[in-house]
Symmetry: C2
């Protein structure tokens, strides 16, 4: 048995999300469908993060085991030759047996992109949340910083997100304006609850629009009540940027 | 009668091109379809450049006249409210009566984007030509520079491009590597023949791959024979960047 670690970039616009579902085409399902005939059996591909429908990835990481012996480069070419062009394998490594892309991850980084220009570029329409602007980036950044550290993030968890604990450690949480109409929120942490980044992004926009004071972020966090935070931001602005591991 | 000058950005992927055609949806047709009920009569929209199917624009310019009086900002909002999100009006100005976006243009700038990385980013798949690489950018840039000046560009004109003269003045023609896998060709001039930029781009790739020496560009130019130049590059890599006018 050979275990592989792959890094995957995808535009999520046309998919039901990372995870295989009965209701439509998933990234996981596409990759498993290529690996099945290659290995002559069902192959289960485990992703580090379960991105939702419409969410994108620059560096999703996934793991799987094959019975067949195959060079990593050849495996990458075989996958890219069969996958649609909106899903690309950008790296393949052979790794230690038993490696699990989700359990072994020590840190994940997400980016949420906002556009507060009057008109969204046609080239960005699937990749930003177009909000009535202009947004107050200093207020948003101040509020985002409150999330750094170890906290109970229950206020930012979607209904149906059942995890043993809602405590997570956020190591980086900052908002920056990168361009005339483009604002980025970057967040890194050891784990994320369901819809957590999008609930934080929705809260940041309320603050950036001046509807809520920047103190509202801390109040929402401390409430542990989803109703105290902002709306869930739309999926198109969200990117899974990278997943980090201890040296394997 | 009020004459307007609009600047339009569009992703050309899903269109038959700028120009209205019976065979499918065009950008010109979309805009005319919004203006017709607004003005209560047929409105003819004239674009500065006729981009082909799949070609994009960051700053196409078009002109038209309306009988109705309307503020430019309101006209922009009306257009963007009715147009699909892959076509955006980024500027509207009222201009001198008789202004004609094509005849009045003094310079146009196009960009052609190549990717010579092994894997194309899923976010770039409609916006680059993925070529077997790596490309020799110094050779391409040397060849591109040959086109600067006033020349007969008949060698780079598609069959069916019937113009009075095939002489044009190119004021800028350079190739640069902007990123690990991304190369840009930028060309400005007073006018362009049908498929001219794509024929030049196809020639540049032959030179960048080392199949042809960089002298081949001059030989092709001097031949005035389409067969001496390279293949027509695919449309997705091409952008109409901007159109310039004398002070109106």
């Amino acid at each position: 048995v050979a275990t592989f670690k792959i890094t995957v970039a995808y535009e999520g616009t046309n998919y039901v999300g990372w995870q295989r579902q009965r209701t439509g085409v998933s990234i996981q399902g596409l990759i498993e469908d290529v690996l099945r005939p290659l290995d002559g059996r069902e192959v289960v591909v485990t992703g580090a993060g379960r991105t939702d429908a419409g969410v994108h990835a620059l560096g999703q990481v996934a793991s799987f085991a094959l019975n067949r012996t195959i060079e990593p480069d050849a495996l990458g070419r075989a996958l890219n030759g069969a996958l649609p062009p909106d899903v690309r394998i950008v790296d393949v490594e052979r790794t230690a047996e038993g490696f699990h892309a989700r359990f072994a991850a020590t840190s994940k980084t997400y980016r949420y992109r906002f556009c507060d220009a009057e008109v969204v570029s046609p080239f960005e329409r699937h990749f930003v949340w177009h909000v009535g602007g202009p947004l107050d980036v200093a207020a948003m950044d101040g509020a985002a910083g409150v999330l750094q550290g170890r906290h109970d993030f229950a206020a930012f968890q979607a209904a149906g997100g059942a995890t043993a604990t809602t405590e997570r450690t956020v190591t980086y949480s900052r908002v920056t304006r990168v361009d005339d109409g483009e604002i980025r929120y970057d967040i890194s942490g050891d784990g994320f609850l369901r819809h957590m980044v999008r609930a934080v992004a929705g809260t940041l926009v309320e603050i950036g629009r001046g509807r809520w004071s920047r103190e509202r972020m801390r109040e929402a966090l401390e409430s542990r009540d989803r109703r105290a935070a902002g709306p869930t931001a739309p999926p198109g602005g969200l990117f899974l940027v990278r997943v980090e591991y201890r040296d394997l």
